[in-house]
């Protein structure tokens, strides 16, 4: 089965980004593949191998990069929780605000959405897609996603149950302004954190060195995966 050049380029770009390749280099690598296959008429999988394998030739995914991305997700989750807590309580800005045991499940959900799911289930599904381009369609993805969400929900519930609720339900106290400030301080992580599985937008052609995407483009990619 012939592989679409466009699909190959998107899939390769996604795998390179997952592995931590810088965006200017991603643009170059993908442009080379497109120029080569356009000129030779070769099938991209035939000429370069499956996207997951070709991306690994440039830079394999390291455990350090994986852990860093996961931890950035956890810190971002904590920051979002801080902002939510700070704007939702009805207290003076200088008053100590309790972060309670009841906040843990919400925090767990954010950690799952921002740190765990992207770098476990999404990563697995992305690798699976990118290792069989031009072959039979991979299996359904939604059963695995739902199984993972239920599994993480059970793990969070279990962890909360094992930790046990403190006598007054309070984990720690912090001034409301401090929660907001710390929360807002984590927002730059949205830019620091690299692309994650699912970001398979087609890269722009290589341009002049140092010409990076605008902040609008980066925000759009961060939130909309496009």
């Amino acid at each position: 089965m012939a592989t679409s050049r466009w699909e190959y380029a998107k899939s390769l770009a996604e795998q390179l980004r997952i592995n931590g390749v810088a965006e200017p280099k991603v643009r170059e690598i993908v442009a080379q593949v497109e120029a080569h296959t356009r000129m030779t008429g070769e099938d991209p999988v035939e000429a370069f191998g499956q996207p997951v394998d070709y991306a690994a030739q440039w830079q394999p995914l390291s455990g350090r990069h994986l852990l860093t991305q996961f931890l950035l997700g956890v810190v971002l989750a904590a920051g979002i929780m801080g902002v939510i807590k700070a704007v939702s309580v009805d207290r003076a800005w200088a008053d100590p605000t309790p972060v309670t045991f009841d906040d843990l499940p919400t925090f767990g959900v954010f950690v799952a959405l921002l740190g765990v799911l992207p770098w476990t289930v999404d990563l697995f599904l992305s690798r699976r897609r990118a290792s069989r381009l031009g072959q039979s369609a991979p299996g359904l993805e939604w059963p695995l996603r739902w199984a993972a969400i239920l599994g993480i929900g059970a793990a969070v519930s279990g962890a909360v149950w094992i930790l046990g609720e403190p006598s007054d339900g309070t984990l720690f106290m912090a001034p409301r302004w401090l929660l907001l400030a710390l929360g807002l301080a984590t927002l730059p992580i949205l830019f620091l954190a690299g692309p994650h599985p699912g970001m398979d937008s087609h890269p722009r052609p290589p341009g002049p060195a140092g010409h990076e995407p605008s902040w609008k483009s980066r925000m759009r990619r961060t939130f909309l995966n496009r």
Partner: protein
Amino acid sequence: MPRSRKAREDRQSQWLKGVLDLAVLAALSREKSAYGYTLMASLAESGLDGIKGGTIYPLLSRLEDDGLVKSEWVTGDAGPPRKYFWLTPAGRAELAAGRDGWRAFSSTMTTALEG
């Protein structure tokens, strides 16, 4: 495929892995300046056909990282932009050293194999 034939092909593949960078430097030396496809055509003309794009481009990138080649994207009137490569002085020196090394190695191996 008979096992002995496969073993022979694997051996040749291993040999090629060890010297493909020199073959690419030599092809660039012949062509003066080339992009991936013309470089592969040049290698094929010298008998090294069947080398895939998936092998050549990462190799060119490593050679560039090592300062042995330089490159530039060129946008033509028609078609996609192409990345042209050419040898640096360090690349020419590496090629000269590689040629000397290969002559010595092949002479040693010829003696070892043919007595």
